[in-house]
Amino acid sequence: MTRVLIVGNGPSAHRLAETLTSRGFTGSVTILGEEPRGAYDRVALTTHLTEGRDLAYPDVPGVTTVIGTRVVSIEPAAKTVNGSIPYDVLVLATGSAPFVPPVPGRDLDGCHVYRTIDDLDAIRASAATATAGVVVGGGLLGLEAADALRGLGLETHIVEMSPWLMPRQVDEGGGAVLKKHVESLGLTVHVKSGVTRIEGEGRVTGLLTPDAGVIDAQVVVFSAGIRPRDELARGAGLQVGERGGIVVDDGMRTSDPSILAIGECALHDGQIYGLVAPCMTMAEVAADRIMGGTAAFTGADLSTKLKLLGVEVAQFGAMAGALDVTYLDPVAGVYKKLFVSDDASTLLGGICVGDASPYATLRSFVGAELPAAPSDLLFSPTAVELPGDAPVCSCNNVTKNDVTAAIKENDLTDVAGVKACTRAGTTCGSCLPLLKKILTESGVDTGTGLCEHFAHSRAELFTIVQVRGITTFTQLIDEHGTGRGCDICKPVVASILASLHNGHVLEGEQAALQDTNDHFLANLQKNGTYSIVPRIPGGEITPEKLIVIGEVARDFGLYTKITGGQRIDLFGARVEELPRIWRRLVDAGFESGHAYGKALRTVKSCVGSTWCRYGVQDSVTLAIDLELRYRGLRSPHKLKSAVSGCARECAEARSKDFGIIATEKGWNLYVGGNGGFTPRHADLLVQDVDTATLIRTIDRFLMFYIRTADRLQRTAAWLENLDGGLDRLRQIIVDDALGICADLDAQMAAHVATYADEWRATLDDPVKLRRFVSFVNAPGTPDPSIAFTTERDQIKPEILQVMSR
């Protein structure tokens, strides 16, 4: 069995492991990475700061990954690393490190580089005690770092040696337009400027430049280029380039045939690639070679398209040519330039700043005959039909022919299908518009259909169900769809039926539509157990009820945690235990908290005027009233709310789908807030209204949202996509511009009148209870795969064995 050992756990290493596994490699694959976490998407690094996004790549099944371990030596003769870890094939994927110019003071507190999640966390910590920051280097990464500093609230400077920003991607004209954009955002740009010294004692206080004097700053980020991490290779006597980089051949082999190098540490044909796409190609070539193939890496396209500081910048092909055609709009800040051959027939390259729309199409024509007059191409590139061999996705080496063939062979109907079959569009995403275009060219309607079974959007289905009075999935799919549904359309239809008819979600055929969470009225956990969240309206709870929760948790041995939604979650229940647990909770007066449903979750509250010396209204009573009013309301996505007793906003109401803040005169209602993946502050819809008006407005807001939103669209995204935005929403639900308010009111009244606790109803129904077993043929037997260990005196699921292929 071949043992493949990969050093470094960046994007290249991950792609290599993934390719080996997906091609059925039968040897063992081990990755040693020095960072304290698994592989993650470094390209999207900045979103870790700006959106707190989780960048982790999915684990590759069957691969052993060791994190937090640095490889310090290779013993090529013994075929080991670190003196003892054996390999048959060693792959160096050590990437590169930021170059820090050797200026005095570069080690002071507050000096950083911009490469890893840890770097960004450290920058965030420094920024907390800073007012200004400087980025050294005005290239692609420098601008990204500058934007991050700006986002952290710092007055930000950029110091760049060259006469203009991003000298590797744009020419002087483009650089000038780019600088204007950057400056209009409030950043200060110093071009043709170096760094003499970093000032400060212990902590940075400023940066001395040769001509601009001292720039006051407490944070400095170096982004002055990268250097391949070839130190291991050097130590092992492998051949490295004069200016660094591990020399590899077309098969990614180093000077030792058992050692390959891929990604940013590899030097191929005199070139180091600092972009992710070539790194991925190298990883795929290496995988093929390890499995005995003959794939070759023959260089890569260095085209780039990015959006930095809200400005689109793109460069493709050559950055010079015999002739060029330029378009400049200094007012709008748009600069586009095409380079063409001396007979004006062949496209050589191009640069775009401020509007990169020509990029996706024109990049494919580099080296080919121009499909239209250059000036037309600068304006309406999308009208041009792509040639078949045009590269569409450069990150994953996919041509238009590949995409067209995949669409035909697999009857693909959407971009998601193309992504799954060809990998195009799964890396930087800049080719997604092209994929859509090719789908359309292939005669596929990329409309708003939910999935292969329904050509309708969720809002259209809602109207169909309502107008036609449809009550079952079978009727709906027979009359308006095809096939028998899937995990996308079934829960959507279940939710629509529940919103409109409000019957029990496990009644009759509806039971088969529910996602596993709704089906067991509990949340599935990673080991196949479930969690239980009783409703605690407004977060208010009596000591007696707290004791019951404690007793139930103790008696059933459940892991107990206070949630972020002001209630208590009990984890680790087996399916067959759920009814007994809920029997005890229901008897003590608890009901379902719908933590499992696309439904109202919690209405959080602050303590309000009853106790708080600042409170101006009783926020707890309102929160409880609202939670009881809207509990059980099924919706396109979950709904959250909060009520604060004064403008101090201790309940964080503005991060909720509907949030209420008390005023001296009544209530302010904010809508469309969101925490989560893309946080958004809610917008003020109505001001200083009394309680009755408030509730009527919320009723209509919720019902209008339920009618018209897409599947899994929170109110924040819905409101942002609503034609006419907040003003239109106000016209519709406050001024009744569409004449539908009476309908919306009646629908909500029906919901409130027919609400019943799902768990109580389930416990009272022997038929519904029958599903709560691990095994139909052995109802008393617990699932033997479920096991726990102990951590801090509570249970914790034992890690499950994942099948390897």
């Binding site: 799954a420 899937c486 079934k490 596993t516 691990s774 095994f775 043929n777």
Partner: protein, 119 residues
């Protein structure tokens, strides 16, 4: 030396009763424990029966019987309730990750009882 007649061994399926057919809700799975093996059994809308392994190969959890049943291009499927990969009920192949295949088992109805063979 005596000659024993040569018999080619034929692997006869060994049928295990699982539950009455009426206990299987259309388009909703159930799990059976047969000789230590967890088998997810399904009854689709047209009345066909299918049996596949209950373990989700991606998460390792034994939960496929709790997924949503449907079709993809006409092929009967179940989606893992953990991370939604879709598996063919006829072949056990993961339609979202070609190469991953889970076991399938013979299934039949005898006198109203659903029976599965894991041998």
């Amino acid at each position: 030396m005596t000659m024993t007649p040569l018999r080619t061994p034929v692997l006869e399926p060994v049928w295990e009763a699982v539950c009455p057919l009426t206990d299987l809700l259309p388009e909703r799975g159930a799990c059976a424990l047969i000789g230590g093996e967890q088998v997810a059994v399904f009854r689709t809308h047209d009345g066909s029966l299918y049996a596949i392994g209950n373990q989700d190969p991606f998460s390792g959890a034994y939960i496929l019987s709790r997924g949503i049943v449907g079709t993809r291009n006409g092929e009967p499927t179940v989606a893992s309730p953990m991370h939604k990969q879709v598996f063919s009920l006829t072949s056990g192949a993961c339609l979202d990750d070609p190469g991953t295949v889970i076991p399938t088992f013979p299934i039949r109805v005898t006198m109203g009882m659903v029976e599965v063979s894991v041998k």
